[in-house]
């Protein structure tokens, strides 16, 4: 079924992770391992548990059962300073960018540097402007408010915020959702470049196969809260798994049935 990855040092390991909301079992025993420096993309349809899995790794949600090890340390039950210590290793690009409305762009990018690392504001502003340049945005954008930016620019600012503090692990939640194909490709390129520059481990979730093919070293498919296939990106087209084949070809017919009332 799932789980073992390559042969490098394991950065993130999930074992038997379960999470339910009331009677709905969203994660039903996730086993997944991500090697250091690897870019893993988790694909799957809407409501299959991708975002919940990501939030469990990030500590935003606490799993009901199972373990999540980051750099060999169990993290599911840690809180307070220990949690903040783990979070310092992470950078995250949210689906809707999740920029802070009340802060200008540069403060959004510098947020982790000012609050998390205690950098002074002037220094942090300079780093923010440099980081914005790395995602193709000029210094004139720095003083704008997030509401003044287009969707693509917001995503790029979100990416700049994620990489500004040089994290060990980068998470991308549906990085191309809501963008046109060209801007999607720009974001994909930026993700690949920045992850490579940082030498970071990357975990992305998406249902955009073009994006998955571009940014992944490995791909895992989640279905009904379980990893049903995992392999190198080059193996995705001959996985031999009917669920994966239906998903990557976007067919309505196949083992994955949508809950649609047909008349």
């Amino acid at each position: 079924m799932a789980a073992a990855s390559g042969h490098g040092k394991q950065k993130i390991v999930l074992k038997g992770v379960r999470k339910s909301f009331g009677a709905k079992h969203v994660l039903d025993g996730i086993d997944l391992s991500i090697d250091e420096g690897q870019s893993l993309v988790v694909i799957g349809g809407s409501g299959t548990g991708k975002s919940v899995m990501l939030k469990c790794i990030l500590g935003i949600l606490v799993p009901d059962a199972g373990s999540i090890h980051i750099d060999g340390k169990e993290t599911t039950r840690i809180a307070g300073r220990a949690r903040e210590g783990v979070m310092k290793k992470f950078g995250m690009l949210f689906q809707g960018a999740a920029l802070f409305d009340s802060l200008p762009v540069w403060e959004n990018v510098a947020f982790g540097l000012i609050q998390g690392q205690g950098k002074n504001r002037r220094e942090a502003r300079e780093v923010a402007i440099d980081t914005l340049a790395q995602v193709g945005l000029g210094p004139e954008v720095a003083k704008l408010m997030p509401a003044e930016l287009s969707g693509g620019m917001q995503k790029r600012v979100g990416l700049a915020r994620a990489i500004a503090s040089h994290p060990d692990v980068l998470f991308f939640d549906e990085p191309t959702t809501g963008l046109d194909p060209i801007m999607s490709d720009v974001i994909n390129e930026l993700i690949v470049e920045r992850v490579k520059d940082l030498g970071a481990t990357a975990v992305s979730i998406t249902h955009d196969m073009a994006s998955a093919r571009k940014i992944a070293d490995r791909i895992a498919m989640i279905y009904r809260g379980r990893i049903i296939w995992e392999g190198a990106v080059g193996d995705i087209d001959h996985s031999g798994n009917p669920y994966v084949e239906q998903f990557i070809h976007g067919r309505a017919e196949g083992p994955i049935q949508m809950d649609i009332l047909k008349t």
Binding site: L58, I60, E84, F94, A98, L99, Q115
Partner: protein
Amino acid sequence: MQLNFLAIIGRFALGMLGEIGRFSRFAAKSVLSCVQAPFFLRNLLQQTMTIGYYSLPVVGLTAVFTGAVLALQIYIGGSRFNAESIVPTIVVLGITRELGPVLAGLMVAGRVSSAIAAELGTMRVTEQIDALTTLSTNPYKYLIVPRILAAVIVLPLLVLVADIIGVMGGFLVSTQSLGFNGGSYLKNTLDFMEADDVSSGLWKAAAFGFIIALMGCYHGFFSRGGAQGVGAATTYAVVSSAVLILASNYLLTSLVFS
């Protein structure tokens, strides 16, 4: 039929207990966060301006009209047994002990509790609160604590302003249309007012500030379901703050300040 009825009661009881538990946990975590570093002073100052300075017009207008109408009503009532001279005393006691803190509290609840719930609710549904967590920043310390501390500090100041403006409202009506002498009105006001009258109102205001910020933060922080959820959070925040202000006012007055 009977089983269904029992199931409904059971579900209601479980839901209510769950909500009480969640609220208690949130309140305890918020209060504990108020005394633990780090402190976000920039946010505290910003909230002090938002909650305090920008509430001045609405609190001032409420106070001046309340003081004015109080003077009119007491004059009408007092004149029935030739006790018109009691107007300054009743106005100052009424304003400082009850109407100042309660009406300022209710007005600020309407203005601030709803704004806090809407802001935090929007942050929740757009994942900005999750983003804070991923940036190694505790949302309780960054978002909740500055709002609670600002409201607790600022409400007594607003009530002090409301007390002064309310008394002046009564003074204006009494001297301009009820025929009172300005000097003797002020003398009566000061002679019969005690420090406890003012301080009890200020202590109550601090409690109301805590309630307003806590309810706004609680409903906003746990809102879900997009725009509709944020709208509902705003409504719950205002209604629960107003009800809790009135209930706690009675309890505080009867147990501590009576």
